[in-house]
Structures are given as structure tokens and as C-alpha cells.
Amino acid sequence: MGEKTHDPQRRKVIKAAGAALAASVLLPSKAPAQQARNEQLQVWSCGGLAEAFRPANKHYEQLTGTKINYTGAFAAALGKSLLGGAETEIFAGRVLKLAQKLISTGKMEYFKPLCFTRYVLATPKGNPAGIATLEDLTRSGVRVALAPEASTPGGPAVIKLLEIAKIKDEVLKNTVIKGSCVHQMISEITSSNSDVTIVENRITRLPSVKGQLDVLPIPENVQPPPPLTFTIGVMKAAHNRKLADEYLEFIVSAEGQKFFDEAGFIPALSEKGKELTEKLGVHDV
């Protein structure tokens, strides 16, 4: 064993380091200053909804003083945790069947339709390849970027869309970038490494790509089958049922739904949303 060297600053430095680390890690998760009601609500949602939920929650906190403890992550993983025993008070997930399963297993009290996703064509700003329709992706020389290995909404759903449009093989021949991550792929478009991609409209509204893309619609008759649906439900574990109900009503109200519209979703409250609700059978059981 070596001789222990005397270091008079050690204790001071360790204390200061602890304080600095705690400040660094914990400060961003501190509660807002004014919490008139001093109440909290735990909200989990599909990660794709985070860009809508974050400002919506902030607005709700300002309106009511209720602190929203929000977690946004891959819905299937959160669903698995909830089915396995984890608890939250509000859950907004993708995939209608998951919400129905949570109801049937007694984890969720009820749910309501929240919003829908839709797929669009995204090109670099100015659309240098002159893409106008989905069929243009089959044109010789067009450089397509896809993420077939990404999770279902980013990968398999897009492939299904191409199958429905009967252009899958031609488009895959033109695919010069095949990624496993939608975020990486969209940056290939903004940096003009490819001419066009197919993504959920919400991806084109992300702050990191805002203003760097041209977005073109894809006809409804080739939109892929579910998962297009997002629902929001009150869980059995809600400590304050009234508070949970109020929050859910805010999110599905016109005031709450505008955040989902701005984030690139079709709000359930809109005419299109109501049509999709009926078409896709988004009803509590």
C-alpha cells in the first residue's frame, strides 16, 4: 500500500462536486415555480407524441398549476411495462389493440381517440428532383432514402405503403440510402444526399428539420393500415381520478388538440379525425 497523501481540499472538492452533479442532473426536472394546486399527474405516451405533449403539458401546467410528470418513449415498450406491473395515471399509446388490451386486463379505465398519423413525401427544400407524386419515386435517377429496418411506423409501414401502391420493387431499386433510423434518414434529405423519402408527417415538423424540407401529400388510398391511431386513456392506477379525467378532457379538447395539429398529426377532433375514428373503429370496448 502506498503512503496516503494529505489533501486538504479533498473534502471541499467532493462536497462541491456532489452539489454540482446534483444541480446538473436534477435542475431540469425541477417543478415549475407556481403550483397553485400542488398536484401531480403521471403521463406516459408514445415517444412520437412527445413534440405535441411537451408544449401541451406546459400549457396545462400554466393553466391549472398541476405538475405533469411526463415520459415519452416507444409505446410497445411502455405498454409491455404497464402490462407487466408498472404504473402510470394517463397513457397515450400508438396501436389501438394495445389500448384495448390494457382495458381487457383491467389496467386502463377507458380511452378516447387522440389523433392519427399520416405519411407524406419529403424532399430537400426546393424539391430539386421535381417530385410531384408517389410514382415519381420509380423514375430513373431519383435517389430515394428509406429506413426499412426502423421500428414499425418508420420501416414496415412505409414498405406496406409501397406494396399497396404496387411500386415497391421499382422504388427499392432507386433506394440509395437504406437506414435503420428515421431521424438519420431525414438528415440525409436535409443534406441533399437523396431526393425524396416517405415519412410520417410529424417527422417533417421536428425542430431539427423545420424549414428544410418540402412536403407533398400521399393519397389516402395508399396510406398503410394501422398503426395510424393514437389513443389516450385514464389508467386504474390514477391516484386522483377527477384530475386524470380533467387532464384527458383538456388534451382531447380543441385547446389541447391544436398542439397535435401543430406537431403534424390529424387531431381526432377534426373532421378528418372523426372520419378516421369511424373508419378505423377507434372505440372503447
Binding site: 481540499q9 472538492v13 454540482a20 415519452g72 418513449a73 415498450a77 438519420q184
Partner: protein, 254 residues
Amino acid sequence: MSENKGATILINKLKWLNNTSKLIFLTIIGQWSFYGIFRCPFPVPFVGCSNCPVITCWGRISSLFWGFWLVLPLSVILFGRAFCGWACPGGFINQMFGKISPFKTGPKSRLNKFAPLGFIVGISITLYLWLGWNNPRLAIPIRVGEFWQSIALTFEHADSYWLARTAIVLSLTLASFLVVNVWCRMFCPTGGVLEGLSRFAVFRVYKNDICNDCDNCRQLCAMKTRPAETNCTNCGDCVSQCPQHAVKIGRKGK
């Protein structure tokens, strides 16, 4: 004369400056390091932040990511491994563990002799994961979430490769309780790259010809090394402590 006095005051304040710098950087980039270990879905953190779905990570929401990769190469050209000794939050945590460790290695630790081998292993694995394997997503990114819950969810849904990577990094960090700074001295890939490039640094801490090999500097050193030798981070802790006044800071030979 007054210039020498000023230099002496500066040298005596080096330790204080160093600790202050580490605390400041711990506050600025500590959370980013924390995300890198516990919540980054990729096996190699800090290299793909611009595309990462974890939207609350400081490397994502601030200019830290670009700033870091701009400043780090500049820092190594000027001051060698100074990032490790003056700024790295992980290095600071390792050093703290080493300081409160009940076990101390001898002052003539031979670990540094094997450091290049460890660094080669660490760098090779990192390069393979990053460039060879394309740094795949191995954990479910908790895009937004509460502090502890997000960590718990990340671990719950992570791939076994991600769990193995995190277990190795954490084990080697905790190993600082047994072998002082073992992660920084032998395995850190960033430290390894900086170590390799540090020989080209313009400024450094070095010892001159009047050094009598008393090894007082190594005994004091958090990295258990001597000026300008393997694992010297130019922290300057030893500059004012050399009984022979043989340790200098600046451009060697100037």
C-alpha cells in the same frame, strides 16, 4: 522579478484552478455524460447526438455536441490530454472514487506500462461499434422522462449488448475504488486517442534535467504518472510540489 512572482502565484493556484475548472465542466457537461452512460440508446455515446431521439439530452438540445467536437481537437493540439485533467466529468468522478477509495496502489504503479495496450483495446472496440457496426440503437430511447424512471425504463427494455456495454463501463468506473483511475488510465477510448495525440501538444507540463527521480510527483498524481509520461493530463497538480523545482509548465525547451 514581478513576472516571476506572478508565475509563482499562478502555479500555487493551479490546483485550485484545476478543481474549479472540473466543477464548472461537471455542471456544464455532467448531464450530457450522464445521458451518455445511462440513457443513450447507442453503444458509442456522444457521436450521434444530432440524430438521437432522446430530445431532453443536453447534447441534443444545445450546441454542446458540435462545440465539444470542435474544441476537443483544438485542446489536444494546444494542451495534450488537458481535457481529461481539466474538464472530463467522467474523469472527475473516477478521481473522486480514487480519492475516497480505502485501497491505494503503490506510488510506482506499473499499470501505466500496460496503458497503451488497454487503450488499443478500448479504441478498437469503440471503432468497431461505431464505424464497423454503424452504432446501432440497442436500447429503447426514453425521449422525455422523469429522472429515475427513465433510467429504470432504459435498463428494462435495453438489448443485452447495451446492458453489457453499460455494465463494463460502470464496473471499470467503480473499479477506481480498487485501482485508482483504472478507466481513465487504461480503457477510456477518448483518453486513449488524446494520449496518442498528446505528443504533438504545443504546451505541456514537463520535468527538466534537475529531476532526481524522487517520484513525489507520481505519488501526488491522480493518474499515478509523472510529467510528460504516459497518462499525464497536464493537470499541473505536481508543478508546485516538486522538491527540486524540476517540474515546469509551458513549451519544453523554450
